[in-house]
């Protein structure tokens, strides 16, 4: 009976831990680390939790690696009932440095020493803006495809189809950045949140398109590389969300996709 209760508790705690990890986002790909298969394992013993993360290459940028690993540590630590937390990054060129720094609670600057200047806040903000820009382009290109004559500079949030994944995704990202979400708010914005003039509008949308192509392309390649590096990890990936339907990237079978 006791054993059963413990198993049930451990199972419950594990699902709570996984849910918490689902709030951790790869800023570059704008996707939860649980969706892209970066969570290698979750082990719960009593109230002690150990999580292992993995990335598509040994040479993924260490600043993004640190953001995901430290965010994962914070998210898991906040789950009620969790006691000790170990989060480790496997197989990265900075695994030892990052895992040691995280375990010792050294923080970003304490871990990276002279390579770190202040914080990673601006990096995080840059990629939140890119995520918004990509969502904006998806919504506007969707609109242009149904109505090629639409005046992009004048489109407001109220003109976008309500309830569509692309519209909802845009509203979520605007809210995250503190941008207006009312029906009358213009959709097309510069990366800094200001509104382009009608003359600037075509270029602003083209720039947004290049951001969207970049984010989507990186997401697909990183997902693919992970499955090449860790055979079987495709089982841990969920398809890219439906809020990104435009110009889908058909993937034909590579050798070890």
């Amino acid at each position: 009976m006791t054993a059963l209760l413990t198993d049930r508790t451990a199972g419950y705690l594990e699902s709570e831990v996984r849910a918490a990890l689902g709030t951790v986002v790869d800023p570059e790909l704008d996707e939860p680390i649980t969706d892209v298969g970066f969570v290698r394992s979750v082990t719960v013993r009593g109230s002690a939790v150990e999580v292992h993360l993995r990335l598509p290459t040994s040479f993924c940028a260490p600043n993004f690696a640190w953001l995901m690993v430290s965010d994962a540590h914070d998210a898991v630590s906040a789950v009620p009932g969790v006691g000790s937390v170990v989060v480790e990054l496997d197989d990265h060129h900075d695994s030892d440095l990052i895992n040691r720094g995280l375990a010792a609670g050294l923080g970003y600057r304490g871990t990276f020493g002279h390579e770190a200047e202040e914080s990673l806040d601006e990096l995080r903000a840059t990629f939140r803006r890119k995520a918004h820009t990509a969502a904006m382009e998806r919504a506007l290109t969707g609109l242009l495809r149904t109505d090629p004559g639409a005046d992009v500079a004048a489109v407001t949030l109220g003109d976008l189809p309500a309830g569509e994944h692309t519209t909802d995704a845009l509203l979520r990202r605007r809210a995250a950045l503190g941008l207006p979400v009312d029906d009358g708010a213009p959709v097309l914005l510069h990366p800094d949140g200001t509104r382009p003039t009608p003359a600037e509008a075509p270029m602003a949308l083209r720039r947004a398109r290049s951001v969207r192509v970049s984010v989507d392309g990186n997401a697909h390649f990183c997902r693919g590389l992970l499955t090449t590096r860790y055979p079987g990890s495709e089982a841990d990936q969920t398809p890219r969300p439906e809020d990104r339907p435009l110009l889908p990237l058909t993937v034909s079978k590579g050798t070890q996709p």
Binding site: H93, L123, L144, R209, K253, G254
Partner: protein
């Protein structure tokens, strides 16, 4: 030369390497991690028929390179772009003397580009002078994410890098190929940032800056810089193999590059031995923007393909292209977006 459907293409592979990643040359675990990363790229993006075994991937040697690139590879001319990686490999990753000797033995086929690193200081400047004279350098490959003692990266705007760029200009090393890897310092900012290219391209207008991998994974930042700087070029190494597993992504990359840079500033490259050039050239000649993307992107013309596959690089390196393979000069504007009439926003 490659021929298809009555069209002849002069082919320049603008990025090849002669590397040695065998265990005896690996200095530490990073040497293994680095080549494993390359091998995963290779396995992930290659058609099944083009995949090599791991052992043969570690080292090819000159004889095999000549066969892969020229005999089987339909390439007219190829350019070495070596990476030093001295912290990962005892004798470095790119094999300088072996590649240079091969280029000397086949001057009509091969150009040897060298590298420099501003962290080598004054001694490195002297070494660059000597290398330029001995090797008759026309170009260099710079890897800003290379490790060097305590340092794990540098920027083109570092004061010492300016000294090297000044000397390059003085020595007639006109073509500066840049690989923006995951530069670690300063860690606060985006590791793949290409903003430093913008500065040096403005300050060294006599030099050509070829950004390898067309700035991937920051295609958007690269395009925005390149559209404003007439001396910034896109190298297709690592981008072009997407043509197989992710053709729609590749279509979007080509669509973006063509829109922002125009067809005169994009260079084909296989990144041999990451991939071999033959299948890439064949696929590229056959490639077209999918029909459902034509609201956003114009079709790729035969003229564009001829330029990208060889004529653009031939211009940078003064290669002697046979008269029947040339094209008249394009006369595109130097900066700003291209083909505006072909984009979906022409009516906005």
């Amino acid at each position: 030369m490659y021929s298809k459907d009555g069209e002849d293409y002069y082919i320049v592979d603008a990025h090849i390497a002669l590397w040695d990643a065998r265990p005896e040359n690996q200095r530490n675990v990073h040497g293994r991690q680095f080549i494993d990363c390359f091998y995963d790229y290779h396995r992930n993006l290659s058609p099944e028929s083009e995949v090599w075994g791991y052992e043969e991937y570690l080292y090819q040697g000159g004889e095999r390179l000549m066969r892969d690139v020229f005999v089987d590879g339909i390439v007219d001319h190829a350019i070495f772009q070596p990476a030093r990686l001295a912290e990962f490999y005892h004798r470095g990753f790119g094999q300088t003397e072996e590649a240079f000797a091969l280029a000397q033995a086949h001057p009509d086929r091969l150009t040897y580009n060298h590298y420099w690193d501003p962290r080598d200081g004054e001694n490195g400047l002297t070494a660059l002078r000597e290398a330029a004279e001995r090797m008759n350098l026309r170009g260099v490959k710079l890897y800003t994410a290379d490790w060097h003692g305590e340092s794990r990266g540098w920027k083109l705007t570092d004061p010492m890098a300016y000294r090297y760029l000044e000397l390059s200009q003085e020595l007639g090393i006109r073509n500066i190929h840049i690989h923006k890897g995951p530069t670690i310092r300063p860690l606060d900012r985006d590791a793949f940032d290409v903003a430093d290219v913008d500065h040096v391209a403005s300050d060294f207008t006599e030099l050509n800056f070829v950004v390898e991998h067309c700035g991937l994974p920051r295609l958007e930042d690269f395009c925005w810089i390149a559209t404003q700087e007439p001396n910034v070029f896109a190298g297709l190494a690592v981008a072009i193999p997407f043509i197989h597993t992710r053709p729609r992504y590749f279509a979007q990359i080509m669509g973006e590059l063509t829109y922002w840079l125009g067809e005169d500033r994009i260079l084909f490259a296989s990144d041999y031995a990451l991939w071999t050039p033959k299948w890439l050239v064949e696929r590229f000649v056959d490639f077209q923007i999918p029909e459902d993307m034509t609201p956003e992107y114009a079709p790729l013309t035969t003229e564009l393909k001829k330029k990208v596959l060889g004529l653009n690089a031939a211009r940078l390196y003064d290669l002697d292209v046979p008269a029947h393979l040339r094209l008249p000069d394009a006369g595109e504007t130097a900066t700003g977006p291209r083909q505006p009439a072909a984009a979906d926003l022409a009516s906005v």
